[in-house]
């Protein structure tokens, strides 16, 4: 069995999960539906952070109780075979969303004359190679770039600070309860996806104790930075402007017209974020591949990584097609796609915590 999981420490696991939490939290949001009626995303994310932590701890507790070293082992084999495809699809969706956002930014702001396929090929090559190398390499690479990445996010927030105004947040509680709960649910699953991926690679992270520690560190550090980023967006633009923007976070640093060239950091920061997003996409693709090879006893993870990478890039390209059907599917995924991940998680939490452990 060539699964290329390897072994990596808590710092490496926390690094890749932190980057994934930030990328998923900031760049996987559908602006048009989220900010249509108001901006309460930062509040929803705050509640989501707590909920995601609780669900994660429940899952870890379930794995400890059942003595399971992987998510698939948590449910019994028939359930595991049924649940795994849902988790795989969910992980791939979370790989697609941020890549789609960055592809949009590249085409609209950087390589204006280029075609989508030209840029997508760069993403494909990087994703295939990085995901095929295995989790040890992904985790170590994340460990090296995590500080640079987090600094790149923080610098954007600091540079845009002169234009922050509290009145941009008004009206404060503009969403109805149902819409707010929907945002809480989708934000929870955005925070939870990296943690689910972390549980998939639990063995490589030296067991649930290290995984739990890494997950909580990532959730808190990445979650706080995500919430601050969402808050800074709210302080910079009215919700109606945010709903019309495709890449508000990228444009955050452009709101202040600095004379000094050193402070024209938008493109430099963008490419640092792109590297982080690519690493996270490779992480999700690898975790999905590992889940598939473990569930269905496939020998080698590398061909599966290549296939899933191609599927991810194709899905990313499909999202740009001018088709009503695709638009409605994408819109549904943004709004209700969290259900795909929520259903198996609920089942796993229930089964894992309630089921009596089989004695050997």
């Amino acid at each position: 069995m060539n699964h290329r999981e390897g072994k990596f420490g808590t710092q490496e696991a926390a690094s890749i999960t932190t980057i994934a939490v930030v990328i998923s939290g900031i760049f996987s949001v559908d602006n048009s539906s989220t900010y249509k009626n108001g901006n309460m995303l930062y509040l929803a994310s705050t509640i989501a952070l707590v909920l995601a932590g609780l669900i994660f701890l429940l899952l870890v507790r379930a794995m400890n109780k059942q003595g399971a070293s992987t998510l698939v082992e948590l449910a019994s084999r028939p359930f595991g075979v049924l649940i795994s495809p849902l988790i795989i699809v969910a992980l791939l969706i979370f790989a697609v969303f941020p890549l789609f956002r960055f592809l949009q930014i590249m085409i609209r702001f950087i390589f204006v004359e280029a075609e989508y396929i030209d840029i997508a090929l760069y993403f494909l090559i990087a994703m295939v190679l990085v995901s095929s190398l295995g989790m040890e390499i992904i985790a170590r690479s994340a460990r090296v770039i995590v500080v640079i990445f987090l600094l790149a996010i923080a610098i954007a927030l600091v540079i845009a600070s002169p234009v922050y105004s509290a009145y941009h947040l008004y009206p404060l509680f503009s969403l109805g309860a149902d819409e707010f709960m929907l945002q809480v649910a989708s934000s929870t699953l955005r925070f939870l996806a990296p943690l689910i991926a972390l549980l998939v690679i639990n063995r490589g992270a030296h067991g649930t104790k290290s995984t739990k520690r890494a997950g909580l560190i990532a959730l808190i550090s990445g979650g706080v930075l995500t919430i601050l980023s969402q808050l800074s967006l709210g302080l910079t633009h009215f919700h109606s402007n945010l709903a019309d923007m495709s890449a508000p976070f990228y444009r955050l640093t452009m709101e202040v017209r600095y004379e000094a060239p050193a402070l024209r950091t938008d493109k430099t920061l963008l490419f640092i974020w792109t590297v982080g997003a690519m690493l996270v996409a490779a992480y999700y693709v690898y975790c999905a591949s590992l889940l598939l090879v473990r569930t269905y006893k496939v020998g080698d993870v590398r061909p599966v990584c290549a296939i899933f990478s191609c599927i991810t890039i194709c899905a990313m390209l499909l999202m740009h097609f001018d088709s009503a059907m695709i638009d409605s599917v994408v819109s549904w995924l943004y709004q209700w796609g969290w259900v795909i991940l929520a259903a198996p998680l609920v089942v796993l939490c229930f089964i894992g915590n309630v089921k009596r452990r089989k004695l050997a």
């Binding site: 069995m1 060539n2 699964h3 290329r4 990596f8 420490g9 710092q11 490496e12 590249m106 950087i110 390589f111 840029i119 760069y122 090559i125 990087a126 190679l129 990085v130 190398l133 040890e136 390499i137 992904i138 985790a139 170590r140 690479s141 460990r143 090296v144 770039i145 060239p261 024209r264 493109k267 430099t268 490419f271 640092i272 792109t274 590297v275 690519m278 690493l279 020998g299 080698d300 590398r302 061909p303």
Partner: protein, 524 residues
């Protein structure tokens, strides 16, 4: 082979991991004697007849055409036929005359009861290092390396004596790893001298030097130096295992050995530290690493190595801490400049002109007014010319080397600008890049970075900053995957270890502590 492994699905890639201490020695090291190689040489023991041994030796060493081989027959105590064999120029003739021939010929009588060879060794020959040997291959190896063999009629055992006296360089100054503070000695081609240089620094009783022969027919001497009880036993065994697998005659230096024992021989980044400085090798041994000394090579390999070790200099340990930190920061800055600046400039000029300020943009445009080559091509051309000038400066003999550097750097550069082949801005960038290149202490890493930046220029030309960022990501992933004798190359950054200081130099006391990733058995 590697392509086959790439497509060998379902088979995990097995590689050596430097894990916790292993107990015992694997069976392939059951004794310290060298593995017997099947070769053209006859095997077995020496003959009891001196004449038979004489004929055998003439045949083995091509005595009819090889005039270096000296076969001196003489009589011990005027009655026992003896034969001394040595190679002219390898052995010290004065020692042979004074301490072998003269005492043997002047002897009045000999005790023929018991072993004649033992008697001669104990009572006749006046040499400090002797050995009794009857194995034919060992006798031939001893003669080849400069020792003398004395055969005695009636005894199949020969007396081997250390009469090595070949001419070699004295201990030179370090030329490739120069420092201002600290020792200036360097290794030379003499095997014993190199071991002595290490022993002068490492005076602990646990410092061992295991000497073994390696290679197929050309059994060259290799010493494995480490601290017994400090170095991880698994690491030492792995080094020995890899050395024992070498099956080529062409071992001319540690550079060859390094390529034969590395985890990834096709990688441009070295996985062993090749150093000419005894203090640097000794520092590694003190921390639990293993040094490999090769006969005839003025460099020593130290394993395992990390990327941080490749980027650090011997002088870092001798400078005061604040100054050492500043020097390291400048060095890191130089490395970033040399690796990324040409590609970054190409990307900005070709794809992201908006990122350049109007002053810089106008300077670039005005300097390239009459230049016919596209900017990326101009950059790549100058980088290649720089490499050409560097190679010419190294290979040109003696004083010409300096002249080549001046001609290439000043005259060619100025002439190229005047002729509108290149622009001044690009020339300055390449010059800065070249300076940054020499900030990298390790020569192999310098060369790897020199050609890597040309590839980055091509990627920047095609993909702009997107291409650069993805190339850097793939490079980072590649470096993360590299290992040196079980230790990941990016240790202690990734995986993170207990070491407190990574990039900046720590206090001397902490600096000399053994790194935890070495999994040493002892502690400093």
């Amino acid at each position: 082979m590697r392509l086959k492994r790439l497509f060998a699905f379902d088979k995990p890639y097995s590689e050596f991991e430097l894990l916790e201490t292993e107990h015992g020695e694997p069976s392939y090291f059951s004794n310290m004697k060298d593995k017997k190689h099947s070769s053209e040489h006859e095997t077995g023991n020496a003959s009891t007849s001196v004449n038979e041994n004489l004929e055998r030796l003439k045949k083995e060493f091509r005595g009819d055409i090889n005039s270096d081989l000296i076969l001196r027959s003489f009589k011990m105590a005027k009655k026992l036929d003896c034969l001394v064999v040595f190679i002219n120029g390898m052995a010290d003739e004065d020692q042979i005359n004074d301490f072998i021939l003269r005492p043997a010929m002047k002897l009045d009588c000999i005790d023929t009861e018991g072993s004649v060879a033992e008697y001669a060794e104990n009572q006749v020959f006046q040499m400090q290092e002797t050995e009794l040997c009857s194995d034919w291959n060992d006798i031939l190896s001893a003669i080849s390396e400069g020792r003398s063999a004395v055969f005695l009629d009636g005894d199949s055992t020969a007396v081997l004596m250390d009469t090595r006296g070949y001419v070699s360089r004295s201990v030179p100054d370090a030329t490739n790893e120069t420092t201002v503070l600290g020792p200036h000695e360097a290794f030379n081609e003499n095997f014993r001298t190199n071991i002595t240089l290490l022993r002068r620094i490492i005076k602990t009783t646990d410092f061992v030097c295991q000497i073994r022969s390696s290679g197929a027919k050309n059994r060259i001497k290799i010493a494995i130096a480490y601290r017994e009880g400090m170095a991880n036993a698994g690491l030492v065994n792995e080094v020995k295992r890899r050395l024992s697998k070498i099956d080529t005659d062409m071992i001319l230096s540690t550079g060859t050995i390094a390529q034969l024992i590395e985890d990834h021989p096709l990688s441009p980044i070295p996985q062993v530290l090749s150093t000419e400085r005894p203090d640097r090798a000794a520092a590694g041994i003190m921390q639990g690493k293993v040094a490999i000394i090769c006969e005839g090579s003025p460099q020593v390999c130290v394993v395992p190595v990390t990327f941080g070790t490749l980027l650090s200099s011997a002088e870092d340990a001798y400078l005061r801490r604040p100054i050492a930190i500043l020097v390291r920061i400048v060095r890191i800055f130089g490395i970033i400049i040399t690796t990324l600046m040409p590609a970054y400039f190409v990307a900005l000029c070709m794809h992201h002109q908006g990122m350049l300020s109007s002053e810089v943009l106008s300077t670039v445009i005005s300097s390239r007014t009459m230049v016919f080559m596209p900017l990326p091509l101009e950059m790549i051309f100058l980088l290649i010319v720089f490499q050409l000038v560097r190679e010419a400066g190294v290979r040109a003999p003696g004083a010409l080397g300096q002249s080549v550097g001046i001609i290439g750097g000043l005259i060619l550069g100025q002439a190229a600008v005047s002729a509108n082949i290149v622009s001044t801005v690009v020339l300055i960038i390449v010059a800065l890049t070249g300076l940054g290149n020499f900030a990298v202490p390790d020569y192999s890493t310098q060369l790897a970075i020199a050609y890597y930046r040309i590839a980055m220029c091509v990627i920047a030309w095609v993909g702009g900053l997107l291409g650069i960022s993805f190339a850097l990501l793939l490079t980072l992933a590649y470096l993360s995957a590299q290992k040196s004798f079980g230790v990941p190359l990016l240790t202690p950054y990734a995986p993170r270890t207990m070491r407190k200081r990574s990039i900046l130099r720590g206090p001397v006391g902490m600096h000399s502590r053994a790194d935890d990733y070495m999994n040493t058995e002892g502690s400093l």
